[in-house]
Subunit: 231 residues, 2 copies
């Protein structure tokens, strides 16, 4: 059965998954880019980035960090993300022509379901990515993503609030979290208000590179409600 | 100048420094002992433990974990701890004969200042440890500890609430935190409500063993108020 996964999600030592004050200049909040110091040098990111930019750079590091970065893109049939991960626009979209942070050819190449409270027509990008906007909440988005994924897994991209919502609903099967050796001080805490133990999660793997500690959390309890619609 | 240090303080992946429901059977709260899986096998702990028990076992692991465990006891002239780290008794001490979790010969061997709201005479133990009870708050306890330490450093033992109080007051110079690859789900969060960045802390070292990721956080700003008494 297809799984719901969080991959390559970085948090600071003090538990923040994004810095404060997100805007155009700070898609991950102030200081938030530092969370990805382990990720950006990897071959996985460099290749993805050069595809986006249309250049030929295929350099990048291999090793532990790259292994974890790469697994995040394996067998993914659809993505789900919160509206703040999609962009900095707030409130009604009006005539916004915002199409995401990622240029004409985003690195998803599958359907991406964006959680929002405001209607927006789908946006078809180059390379197989289409952004669909879902106003009916996390369960509906997962249902749509599961249909679109055709048996492959669904990746919950973020941000922290979106992950927390899916965690609280017990809908995430597996999380790869990278703990970066930085302090953010404030921002969006990933696990605040979520009792991971009560929700059945256990750390099943921990492996550190020089730049991050990678852990895999897996939901332990047998789940039978994956296809059940919310009441 | 003597420093105020937190050493070998373990937190879970979800940020808890102690589990819930502390009692006689669970000095660190339910699940809290698992935080120290990196610590208990070390030569430092094993030696300390055998001294407490009066036996001759001096085995134990060496390597990264032991290096960090050992540095926690170097150049320490006094300890400060919260009352919950000292014991499970709550409210007035009445005729409690509680003398700590550590037997007749506790592993401190220096004066230990216990924060409490209830008067208690000092308790002199074997091996140089004396527990003093301080009702006048964290600043007074630090003043007394500094006098007692005679130029050596002061170690803030815990628990999380005590460390948070000293962090918020900007009084800790350096913290060694060990991140254990476990989930506690609930309990006492170490950094909640503390803006480490605003308080001037920076991660200056990160080193992982198979059992924990060890990080050193240092206060970066020059401090001139170390000896100033609170208003």
């Amino acid at each position: 059965m297809s799984k719901v996964r969080v991959e390559s999600f970085s948090i600071s030592l003090d538990g923040f998954g994004a810095g404060p004050d997100q805007d155009m200049a700070h898609p991950l909040g102030v200081g938030g880019e530092d969370l990805h110091q382990w990720f950006t040098p990897t071959k996985t990111f460099q290749t993805m980035h050069s595809e986006m930019m249309g250049d030929d750079n295929k350099d990048g590091s291999t090793g532990i960090d790259n292994d974890f970065a790469a697994r995040g893109f394996e067998n993914i049939g659809a993505w789900i993300m919160g509206r703040n991960m999609f962009g900095p626009v707030r409130g009604p979209w009006n005539d916004s022509d915002w199409e995401g942070w990622w240029g004409k050819n985003p690195p998803y190449h599958v359907p991406v379901f964006v959680l929002t409270h405001h209607e927006h027509p789908p946006i078809e990008m180059e390379g197989g990515t289409t952004f669909y906007f879902v106003m009916e909440g996390i369960h509906k988005a997962l249902e749509l993503a599961r249909d679109a994924a055709k048996g492959k897994d669904i990746r919950i991209g973020g941000g922290p609030d979106t992950i927390r919502q899916y965690l609280k609903a017990g809908l995430i099967d597996e999380l790869h979290i990278a703990i970066s050796p930085i302090i953010l001080g404030s921002g969006e805490p990933l696990f605040e208000g979520v009792d991971l133990k009560k929700n059945g999660y256990k750390c099943v793997k921990s492996e550190a590179s020089k730049k991050a500690t990678h852990v895999i959390l897996k939901k332990q309890k047998q789940r039978t409600d994956l296809y059940r619609k919310p009441c």
